[in-house]
């Protein structure tokens, strides 16, 4: 992919300190339009903090975040809310609204944030649920859905806002192994549709097959980044490959 235009999302020299501890140290990353970048790294590396910082859910101390070349003036709440509408967020533990059924989960922000009327919003909600393979589950409440279905509702909810970027924070980590596939299949379809995404995950097979770039984070820094075929080529000495082989060893041991 050759890029001539500005990246959809750009983070420059981001530093975040939480509770006196520096969690992100001068992190810079571009996300070109239509690309999928996968964040990997040991837990505590700052992947989750980084994704939440990109949505301004966690304030950063230094640096700049630009969406389509424009940085948000955080002193203007309206600008911040508009920014967040354009940057979708998927959480590890789904965070569906527990008191709303599937279609209301997807349509509530359309009504209350985008000001759509109920009928239009619900029609859009049903369409998005169908897109993630949940037609017929519109009236189910979160407690009546499996983990994989919950995460797909969460994805439908984010997509309904027509985001320019989707940030996914370990979307399959809280799922039973047999449910991981259905969520990854949805994300795979989104990459094929050309949605711009950044995703933290431990699903290396998925990253290898679909990521345009793998970003390896450790201790609040980006240590390595590059195309999966370069970083994961047998025989290279990348940190990414080292981390992955350790990950696979653990998984194999776990299966004994």
């Amino acid at each position: 992919m050759t890029q001539t235009t500005a990246p959809t999302l750009a983070a420059e020299h981001i530093s975040v300190t939480l509770g006196g501890k520096e969690i992100l140290k001068d992190v810079s990353l571009d996300l070109p339009q239509g690309s999928l970048k996968v964040l990997i790294g040991p837990s505590g590396a700052g992947k989750s903090t980084f994704l939440q910082t990109l949505n301004h859910l966690i304030p950063h101390d230094r640096g700049e975040i630009r969406l389509n070349g424009v940085a948000v003036d955080l002193s203007r709440k309206k600008e911040l809310y508009r920014y967040r509408q354009q940057v979708g967020m998927i959480f590890q533990d789904f965070n569906l609204f527990d008191h709303l059924n599937a279609v209301d989960n997807v349509s509530i922000a359309l009504r209350k944030v985008k000001g759509m009327n109920r009928r239009t919003a619900e029609a859009r909600g049903r369409a998005e649920l169908e897109r993630v393979g949940l037609a017929g589950k519109e009236n189910r409440y979160p407690a009546e859905l499996s983990g994989g279905q919950k995460q797909r509702v969460a994805i439908a909810r984010a997509l309904a806002m027509d985001p320019s970027v989707l940030l996914l924070d370990e979307p399959t980590s809280a799922l039973d192994p047999e449910l991981v596939g259905e969520v990854l299949a949805v994300i795979r379809d989104l990459t094929r549709e050309g949605l711009t995404m950044m995703m933290a995950t431990h699903q290396m097979d998925f990253a290898r097959a679909l990521a345009h770039e793998i970003v390896f984070m450790e201790d609040g820094r980006i240590v390595e980044q590059g195309r999966p075929e370069d970083l994961l080529k047998a025989g290279t000495t990348s940190r990414t490959l080292d981390f992955c082989s350790r990950l696979e060893t653990i998984i194999e041991q776990g299966q004994d």
Binding site: Y81, N95, D98, H99, I108, V113, Y141
Partner: protein, 219 residues
Amino acid sequence: MDPFYTQELIPALNRGIVMSTMLIVPSVIFGLLGGIVVGTARVFGTRPLRVFFNGYTTFFRGVPLMVQLFILYYGLPNLGIYFEAYTAAVVGFILCSSAYHSEYIRGALLSIKAGQMNAASALGMSTSQALLWIIIPQAFRRALPGCGNELIYLIKYSSLAYIVSCIELTGEARAIAAETFRFTEAFTVVACYYLALVTVATYLLHRLEKRLAIPGFGS
């Protein structure tokens, strides 16, 4: 039947229960709304707001309701603020009830996971939109059993209105008892009236809880 009941006691108590209902219904509605506002401000408000409403709650939970009513009815005229007996009683009940409700609401708000607010924010909702559409509807359902308890208390402490000369159920019974010296009969019947009110309230609360129930939520 003894004409004491049919001619004196029952007509007086029926008058009283109308007044009691007029005291209870607005106090319940605005007390609950006030409790939601106060409880939410105590959890999500700015620091000055939190300090103010914490102080409010401390005062209204810490001072006997009777003393509050005396202040409203007999004390405030010294400052040039005059309330009718009925208004003083309703205002007193709302203020007191809100303080107690706010504690149930606060507890329920604290039990809602931070992820709910994060998810709402990530969709572009403002804090007040997230509170109104996501957080409070969940917290209210969790707080409802506790709030119901407070509502039932309120039905009974509405009897304090008679001490600021707003003659409701207890006031009527007391007047008749004092006139006829038939205290046992008068207060036994009045007890049945309160029991009936509380039974109706319990039934309505149960209906409301069922109506608001969501599969798998709060269980």
